[in-house]
């Protein structure tokens, strides 16, 4: 029987529970229905002791260590796992329609097809949700899927391909095909949050090495942190509705304290004076709210999402 491994690197067990919930309900049965032997693997990139197996039935865990020192190495190590296909699925990517995803498996009947990319980045294949024929990827040089910095002598004007980009380029050069699902179709079937793990790990790393003040300066300087923080806020609403537990709590038990709390979001937004970035943020938040409502609709729960921008406007 053809074997499909659904694999994902995670740092945080709360997000992993949400991910697991959708994977087991949507993807596993849908791929099993097209006669695949499906296995699910979570790589604990950190906090391995917090991943309690009873909350993740049907999952095989791997921990960071030799041969899998971080999520980049996990990608390449997974290509060597005993399987025929791997579906890499980001920790904050949720496929709402498993049968839609599984329907693309038939494209592999064409031996030239090396992968199906379900979520593009700027119109190009990306690793957010990438189903790979491992035989094709194993033929490439190591490191295969890791990011790269090309023309480093030209820094800061070199090129920084993201994970999977160089592999995609090499495969296409060799005449292989990557089925690249466009954004419009993708968005109908997949909900993709962005950098929700990154904002949490950045907070950990920055505060531990440079202090809280630097972290706060970064939050105020880089709107991307607010966008990712808001994604965690809405994911937290869903998590609390489903499990009655706080999401992304810090060591003091404050909800979202390891990301950005509601109060921190409000303060950072209140400090933003230019209307253009605020408008961009408002659109980003609307997108996040629409996304979480789609997940909540699938779960049959109602969410109360705290307002973070209204208070900012009132402060003006």
């Amino acid at each position: 029987m053809t074997r499909l491994l659904i694999a994902s690197p995670h740092r945080y067990p709360d997000l992993a529970r949400l991910w697991h919930r959708f994977v087991m309900r949507e993807l596993v049965p849908a791929f099993a229905a097209v006669h695949l032997d499906v296995e699910v693997n979570i790589f604990c990139d950190d906090n391995a002791e917090q991943f309690e197996p009873q909350y993740f039935p049907g999952v095989r865990f791997t921990r960071s260590g030799p041969g899998m020192r971080d999520f980049m190495e996990f990608y390449d190590a997974t290509l060597q796992a005993p399987c025929d296909f791997v579906l890499f699925l980001d920790a904050d990517t949720f496929v709402l329609d498993g049968s839609w995803a599984a329907s693309y498996f038939s494209h592999f009947e064409d031996q030239r097809v090396a992968a199906v990319s379900f979520v593009p980045r700027a119109g190009e294949p990306a690793i957010f949700a990438l189903m790979c024929r491992v035989e094709s990827y194993r033929a490439l040089a190591l490191p295969t899927l890791a990011c790269r910095y090309e023309f480093p002598d030209m820094w800061p004007n070199g090129v920084n391909p993201q994970p999977g980009d160089v592999a995609a380029r090499e495969l296409m050069k060799a005449g292989k095909i990557i089925v690249n699902i466009g954004e419009e179709e993708s968005m109908r079937h997949v909900v993709n949050f962005r950098s929700t793990t990154g904002v949490r790990s950045s907070r950990e790393q920055v505060t531990s090495t440079a202090g809280d003040a630097v972290w706060w300066k970064m939050v105020c300087m880089f709107p991307e942190y607010l966008g990712a923080g808001y994604d965690n806020l809405v994911l937290g609403c869903l998590y609390e509705a489903l499990y009655h537990l706080r999401f992304a709590e810090d060591s003091k038990g404050t909800a979202l304290g390891s990301s950005l709390t509601v109060a921190e979001m409000r303060q950072a937004l209140a400090d933003m004076r230019d209307s253009a970035p605020l408008d961009a943020m408002r659109r980003r938040f609307q997108e996040s709210r629409a996304n979480i409502m789609r997940l909540a609709g699938r779960e049959g729960v109602e969410l109360a999402i705290p307002e973070v921008l209204r208070e900012a406007g009132a402060a003006d």
Partner: protein, 97 residues
Amino acid sequence: MQNDSQNLILVSGELHMNKKFGPNTINRGAALFECEWDGGRFESGMFCGGLFRSGQFTGGMFIGGIFWGGSWEGGSWEGGFDRAGIYRYRSECPGSL
């Protein structure tokens, strides 16, 4: 930042972006984003993105930058690129290449 007679000393609480630091710089806790480090001593703090052209890295966190040259004497390698632009995994610090 503090200046003694010979050195520029970066300290905790500072955040620097897109700057170049020369051989008389010592970092003692600042966060550097997309900076070029050329010859100083990085004792603690964070080097995120950027180019470590030369100098000594003795402590702190290196993440996402290019380690072009210099000596790695200690610290936490969270991931970054060698001078060929190849990604080196967590803990695969320049001394271990």
